[in-house]
């Protein structure tokens, strides 16, 4: 079942600059979909349109069977949570627990129940020992984890990560990516990740490649990354393991699987043993 359906979506600034042009896509319930594209490909705009933070110029968006329009906005917002790019600018509360509480306050949840909910979701992202900390005392990765907890606390069925790792250091990036992966594994939430991190996209269920406001390619990771030239033309790279695979194939070496660097190393070692 498709939880999000988009038909012929269009978005322009002042009827001049075309950001999205005739974009149609479907996202399956419970899937982990990545939308990749170079800067200015319109991928962040797409995320904001789905969440109803921007007004579309044309086309239709259905979220969970509801058409996105003014009257349904309140319902649709409840279905969608977004984790944005900048860790500082989405930290609304003055401390970790206040930030998680913000969404709960908007949902009119009884303050007496809030402490339990806050603790539950702070533990989910490993921030339960930082509840009273103020944002300027946290690292970027920790702030993003709080943002994820805040979104989880509202209990949306869809979570959009809008380049949530792009402003973090390598350690923070890895933490957040692992967290997203676990979240997908342990819950039935639909995850949409807007990213230019090719490695992350490789591990998702389905990929949409955006270029200049149009869908350039769509498919499973293996289908997307089987042609590195095509992707390089739109300034996108292929994952490291795919690159190795191509180089190996050039040298007529075949191994069983290429899913991760570790697997490739293991398979190559076995190859040596066989010979």
């Amino acid at each position: 079942m498709n939880i999000i359906e988009i038909k012929n979506l269009k978005f322009t600034y002042d009827n001049k600059e075309v950001i999205l042009d005739d974009v149609s896509l479907e996202i399956k319930k419970g899937s982990y979909t990545t939308i990749i594209g170079h800067n200015g490909s319109g991928k962040s705009t797409l995320a904001r349109l789905i969440a109803g933070l921007l007004d579309k110029s044309g086309g239709d968006i259905w979220v969970n069977g509801l058409l996105l329009k003014e009257e349904n906005l309140k319902h649709i917002r409840k279905e969608i949570g977004i984790v944005f790019q900048n860790p500082d600018n989405q930290f609304i509360g003055s401390s970790v627990k206040d930030d998680i509480a913000f969404g709960l306050e908007n949902k009119c949840i009884n303050p007496k129940e809030m402490d339990d909910i806050i603790f539950k979701y702070a533990s989910r992202v490993g921030m339960e020992n930082f509840l009273d900390k103020e944002p300027h005392l946290l690292s970027g990765g920790q702030k993003q984890r709080v943002a994820i907890a805040s979104v989880l606390a509202i209990n949306p069925s869809i979570i959009i990560f809008d380049e949530a790792t792009s402003m973090l250091d390598p350690k923070g990036k890895k933490e957040i990516k692992d967290l997203i992966k676990n979240l997908h594994k342990d819950s039935d939430k639909t995850i949409i990740s807007i990213t230019h991190d090719i490695e992350e996209a490789y591990h998702s269920d389905y990929i949409y490649v955006l270029n200049k406001g149009k869908i350039f390619k769509k498919g499973k990771p293996n289908e997307i990354f089987n042609n590195s030239k095509e992707l390089n033309n739109i300034k996108l790279d292929v994952p490291f393991n795919v690159k190795i695979k191509e180089e190996l194939e050039k040298n007529k070496i075949k191994i069983e699987s290429y899913n991760s660097v570790e697997e490739i190393v293991e398979n190559l070692c076995r190859l040596k043993l066989k010979n």
Binding site: R48, D88, Q90, F102, C108, P135
Partner: protein, 267 residues
């Protein structure tokens, strides 16, 4: 930016800290009003005694409160000089050229100084002994009756709490921009006035643009988490009146009554 500690919350465990912020705000307002009751020096001593008592009960070191006066010294000196020179009542006690000083001028100036001393120390005790978040909730609750006249008290409280939340972020951002501009050769410490103005401009323009971006991002984040202005929301932080608060409130009222009595009968 370490001098930003003036009036900053000091998390201590004291009687005053545990009071409801609403009680403290009302007490501050009562003291500010009481200062203007014409009860002479007796009145001022009563108020000062009350402030000294609350300072002791709050466990705040007196040096912290005195620090709060530092940035105001220039203003106070200016005020005192102007007052002494302008008021021309009472007996002439000093004359040199066009400078004429009267005894009433000195007395009035002393009154004003004491009033300032009282108001500043009282408000410093309030901000040092109250968590800004609780203070915001307190302000919101106190403004609530104005909601009947369509006063957007919830929005005002939200704005105050967001402003408080973003002070450290904006200071951080300012330092980042200053360092970035320094690395490009901007000198913030030395130079002629014109150069200094240019240096400050090189800070203000990027600071404004990042602040605007920040505000836009924050608005999206708030909207995405279901915030709709004017819609009902619950509050995570809630306040409760204690027996202590009623007692302190009663003492405050008695203080004002005492001062009014002093102003009628004692002088």
């Amino acid at each position: 930016m370490n001098n930003f500690t003036i009036g900053k919350y000091l998390p201590l465990d004291s009687f005053v800290h545990k009071l409801d912020p609403r009680t403290k705000i009302i007490m501050l307002l009562l003291i500010m009003g009481a200062v203007f009751i014409k009860s002479g020096w007796i009145g001022y001593f009563i108020i000062l005694g009350f402030i000294a008592l609350s300072l002791i009960l709050s466990k705040i070191k007196i040096s912290y409160v005195l620090n709060a006066f530092k940035p105001l010294i220039m203003m106070m000196v200016f005020l005192i000089v102007i007052n002494v020179l302008v008021i021309k009542e009472g007996n002439l006690i000093f004359s040199y050229g066009f400078i004429k000083i009267y005894d009433k001028a000195i007395l009035d100036t002393l009154y004003i100084s004491v009033r300032l001393l009282i108001m500043i120390s009282a408000s410093t005790i309030l901000t040092m002994s109250s968590n800004p978040l609780d203070l915001t909730v307190g302000i919101e609750k106190l403004l609530k009756p104005l909601g009947r006249f369509n006063f957007p008290y919830e929005d005002v409280a939200m704005m105050i709490s967001i402003a408080l939340r973003f002070i450290p972020t904006i200071i951080e951002e300012t330092q980042k921009i200053m360092n970035a501009q320094r690395s490009r050769g901007v000198d913030y410490e030395e130079g002629k006035i014109k150069e200094k103005i240019q240096a400050v401009l090189s800070l203000i323009v990027p600071l404004f643009s990042t602040s605007l971006n920040m505000a836009e991002d924050l608005a999206s984040a708030m909207e995405a988490r279901g915030y709709i202005p004017q819609e009902p929301r619950t509050r995570y932080r809630d306040l409760k009146y204690n027996i202590k608060d009623y007692i302190v409130f009663l003492i405050g009222v008695l203080l004002v009554v005492l001062l009014v009595w002093v102003s009628y009968y004692a002088i």
